[in-house]
């Protein structure tokens, strides 16, 4: 059984049909990419699967369980993590705290115990801090261990989002344009990072405009255009697909 099964998924905003009747499925352990021109509905698709938007029609199944319309925190509990195309870093917190928030569901969140500084809770928190440091090292941000988030450069923040998502210990991670706005060197670093994440056993769903990176990493690719599924298959299949060629070389290449 596939990890994720999407069938006839649609969402409309007023007159805009951002995602229309899209179906696909993702097997556990692979790198699955979603590509398509700007406005094709990639981010909206992520928002639907991670519970940020509620679908107008269609179904989303995770491990066979229907999750369409569930809230993001319910999905987080089921091991779904993501990053954002437009940075969603908490600028009012330090870098490491941003990562620690990712572990929210694994901690004792009791208000009273926290206010009274229960030793057990403090100990867990200290351990988490070490774990978060380890994750920052993993994504290549060791030198920002003590930094405030609002003092970090854009490229570092992109990776901080990945570290936060990893702190959830997710089963599947959705990366929305992790290399957007990065220079070529940083892009290669992110490419390697995504590889490392996939190798650690987490299923990766990737939206990215850098085709080299997509072709490099992906086991399968979904092509969206105007909210509709244009093609799906391995990199080689997609590249040969006449509709894809037309869409990319035609109207809005």
């Amino acid at each position: 059984m596939a990890l994720l099964d999407v069938t006839h998924l649609s969402i409309h905003f007023g007159g805009v049909k951002a995602v229309q009747d899209v179906s696909f499925s993702i097997d556990a352990g692979i790198v699955y990419s979603v590509i398509g021109p700007n406005g094709a509905g990639k981010t909206t698709l992520f928002n639907l699967i991670t519970g940020v938007y509620k679908p107008t029609h269609g179904e989303i199944r995770l491990d066979g369980e229907s999750i369409g319309g569930r809230s993001p925190d319910e999905l987080a509990r089921r091991g779904v993590a993501r990053t954002f195309q437009n940075l969603q870093i908490c600028m009012n917190m330090s870098a490491i705290e941003n990562v620690m928030v990712g572990a929210h569901l694994r901690l004792d969140r009791n208000l009273i115990k926290a206010a009274l500084r229960f030793p057990g809770l403090r100990r867990r928190d200290a351990a988490l801090r070490d774990e978060a440091l380890e994750l920052m090292r993993f994504v290549g941000l060791d030198k920002f261990a003590d930094a405030r988030a609002d003092a970090m450069p854009y490229g570092a923040l992109k990776r901080l989002e990945i570290a936060r998502a990893l702190a959830m210990k997710p089963r599947v991670i959705f990366l929305d344009e992790p290399a957007a706005g990065l220079n070529p060197k940083e892009t290669i670093e992110v490419d390697h990072l995504v590889r490392k994440v996939a190798d650690s056993g987490i299923t990766v769903v990737l939206v990215e405009h850098d085709m080299k990176m997509v072709m490099n990493l992906s086991d399968r690719i979904l092509v969206l255009d105007y909210g509709k599924k244009l093609a799906e298959g391995t990199g080689a299949e997609v590249r040969r697909n006449p509709d894809v060629i037309a869409a990319y070389l035609g109207a809005h290449a």
């Binding site: 905003f13 981010t43 928002n47 940020v52 938007y53 954002f84 437009n86 969603q88």
Partner: protein, 291 residues
């Protein structure tokens, strides 16, 4: 029975029209900037107080009224230039505090200059009540309703038929896009403060012969205008007008039939219910926050 009902209705619609003007003011500024201007009520108060002052200082009524609208409009512009533009994009809390600060300054200055007494303005066309089915209607109420109706029509024309008005609408739909097509969104912000101050002042002037005014009359008026704007669906012009009339009518009915002591609480009870059960108000658009 009917006479009593009509009586409540008349007084409700009359104050309701003032709330509608205040609500339109909120809407204008909200659409241009997402700011809720807590000083809106002070423009209402200022309009009434200035009209009283100018009339007492011997100016002919029309001149006094025009000045009583112009001065608040200038105050509105000053607030926008000095306090809102410099902090563009600040947090909602910050903006709310700034406009509350502005309202305190206006209220305080008014008290210092004109004193803390209650003032009245002669009705525009006499105090001879009109009898309708046993209820009495003051001619001033007709002024309030008539002028409000005209204002609504003029505003409709402005937003749908003139370039400036359309630019303001466009800005409210999508600020960035409006800037891209060359609309001066700062100009729009400026216009909306001037206009909403003028609208508030106009309402204040019209209603003063009926309700009297004093330096602290603005708070409640403004807050109820805010309730009206939310009731109608924040950001919706038609909603603001309908919301204003509804708040006025429900308040008058509640005060008449239920409890006059709780008159001022009625709009706020209403708004809690609205926010709990239909948070977009009557005409608010459904939007999904973009991520």
């Amino acid at each position: 029975m009917l006479a009593q009902f009509l009586q409540f209705l008349f007084s409700g619609v009359t104050v309701g029209a003032t709330y509608a003007l205040a609500a339109l003011g909120f809407t204008l500024i909200y659409n241009a900037s997402n700011v809720i201007n807590f000083a809106q009520g002070e423009f209402i108060m200022l309009g009434g107080m200035l009209a009283v002052f100018f009339v007492q200082s011997g100016l002919p009524l029309p001149a006094a009224l025009v000045l009583a609208i112009l001065v608040p409009a200038i105050v509105g512009i000053l607030i926008e230039k000095l306090a809102i533009e410099p902090v563009k994009g600040a947090e909602t809390v910050t903006l709310i505090i700034i406009t509350i600060g502005a309202s305190l300054v206006i209220r305080g200055l008014t008290a210092v200059i004109f004193g803390k007494g209650t003032h009245s303005l002669p009705a525009f066309s006499g105090d001879e009540p009109i009898q309708i089915l046993g209820a009495t209607l003051m001619p001033q109420s007709l002024w309030v309703l008539g002028v409000t109706a005209i204002v609504v029509v003029v505003l409709w024309y402005f937003f749908n038929r003139t370039l400036t008005g359309k630019a303001m609408l466009a800005t409210s739909y999508n600020r960035v896009a409006a800037e891209l097509v060359g609309i001066n969104t700062n100009g729009v912000l400026f216009m909306s403060f001037a206009m909403s101050a003028a609208l508030g002042a106009l309402g204040g002037i019209l209603v003063t012969p009926i309700t009297l005014t004093s330096y602290d009359a603005g708070i409640m008026m403004g807050l109820k205008g805010f309730v009206a704007a939310v009731l109608g669906g924040l950001g919706n012009g038609l909603g603001a007008v309908v919301g204003g009339l509804l708040v006025g009518i429900l308040e008058a009915m509640g005060a008449g039939y239920l409890s006059s002591a709780y008159k001022d609480a009625i709009p706020f009870v209403l708004i809690l219910f609205i926010l709990f059960f239909m948070p977009r108000g009557l005409f608010g658009a459904r939007v999904t926050d973009r991520v």
